[in-house]
């Protein structure tokens, strides 16, 4: 592509169908830092679920959003493989593995959401409490709901192995 073509390309529309309406309470994104607690206590599936809904609220394109479930499932598979490889019956060791997998998944999900979160923060007016919703309710739901699901999967695989 020569210089003129590159310049012309700059003036081609890129925002077809893109809208960023101001968000009402209950439909606003969550703070990225708060997702760490969900990752630590709930594991990769829980944090991936929260990141998925957050990505939707941040208006992330579906091409970027599809990585989120992949990261969650990869974290689950990694924790199951690690638990089988270590071959331990100790609940503490299994919990530690799930936490490490959750924190690792959080790192990747954080990187994925960082730029859209910055865009949201930069172009919306209001203080932090007005811009973001509380993660307490959804975070606890994800931590318990998907954390228990992850524990059942882990126990089933370890039982079968």
């Amino acid at each position: 592509m020569n210089e003129q073509d590159a310049r012309d390309d700059l003036f081609q529309p890129s925002l077809r169908g893109v809208a960023r309406k101001p968000r009402e309470e209950g439909n606003r994104p969550w703070r990225l830092g708060s997702q760490f607690y969900v990752a630590f206590f709930g594991g990769p599936l829980a944090v991936a679920a929260i990141a998925w809904f957050n990505a939707e609220r941040l208006g992330m394109p579906s091409s970027a959003r599809r990585w989120i479930p992949a990261i969650g499932v990869a974290g689950l598979v990694a924790s199951v493989v690690a638990a089988v490889a270590i071959d331990t019956d100790l609940g503490g060791a299994q919990r530690l593995i799930v936490r490490i997998a959750g924190v690792a998944a959080f790192g990747l999900l954080y990187l994925l959401q960082r730029a859209p979160d910055r865009v949201y923060h930069a172009f919306n007016e209001g203080d932090e409490d007005e811009l973001y919703d509380s993660l307490w309710g959804p975070g606890l739901a994800a931590t318990f709901g998907l954390g228990i699901l992850q524990a059942i999967i882990l126990a089933a695989v370890l039982g079968a192995a």
Binding site: R20, K21, F36, Y37, F40, A115, F123
Partner: protein, 291 residues
Amino acid sequence: MRTNAETAVALASHYLDVDQPQRALDVLDGIDGPDLDDAYLWALRTQALVDLKQFAQAAATARNGLSVDAESITVLDLLAIAEAELGELEAAETAILQALELEPEHPVLLCRYALLLARGGELGKATRVCAEAERIDPDDEAVIRCRIALAYVRGDNKAAARESRRLLAELDPDDPVGHTMLGVQAASRGSFRSASRHFDTAARYDLGDEQAVDLARRGRIHTHPLFWPILPFERFGPAASWLGAVAIMGLLAATGQDLLFAIFAGTYVLLCIYSWVVPPLARRWLSRERW
């Protein structure tokens, strides 16, 4: 345009210059008939509505202006601003691209487009458009501001601070955007006193800017002694401080330092509870104080 209308337009323009958009609008409301066929009048009216943050009306007014003069760059630019604020990024892009078709080498329009693209998540293209504006006029204030905003959005606080220092040194030592960005960078380093000073300077520039005043208030609140215990959380973020604490506790447990482990773990849990409970209460209490 008749003399009365000319006077009204001059007066409205003056009111907009001195940040009195409602008065400008009142003056412009008195104009009717054939005088409404002037695009400049519609531009002033749209500008007043944008300043009043009445973006839906601003967009409708801008469209009326374009029916008078479809090639008014000012009105197209204002339409893009109004549509962007309404969240209608496609409509905003259409307007700004029409303006750029008329004036492709206009650095302000290019920067407006770059920021619009950033808002829509097109950071790569936004950077290229900003670079194009910089090629045309690297010292234009709009270009420096655009570079600051894009650096911030990319998460590059250092580049945002570098550009902000340039803005303050070369254009205006009291520029509120420059000081706000330096404040954000200082806060991200955990230097809340320095951040508070920058936010204060930004707010003093325009005490009517609610967001700047709110930032200054929050900056001051964060320098209050009640916030000192949680400064490490603010400095490193929740993830890094949790991981650090867990690593230290793991190390203490592994080396059999049970007493140290108990003291550290107990202190850490207390600090966590403090960080959840005290800051919201302190913010509520301190924000009642006069800024």
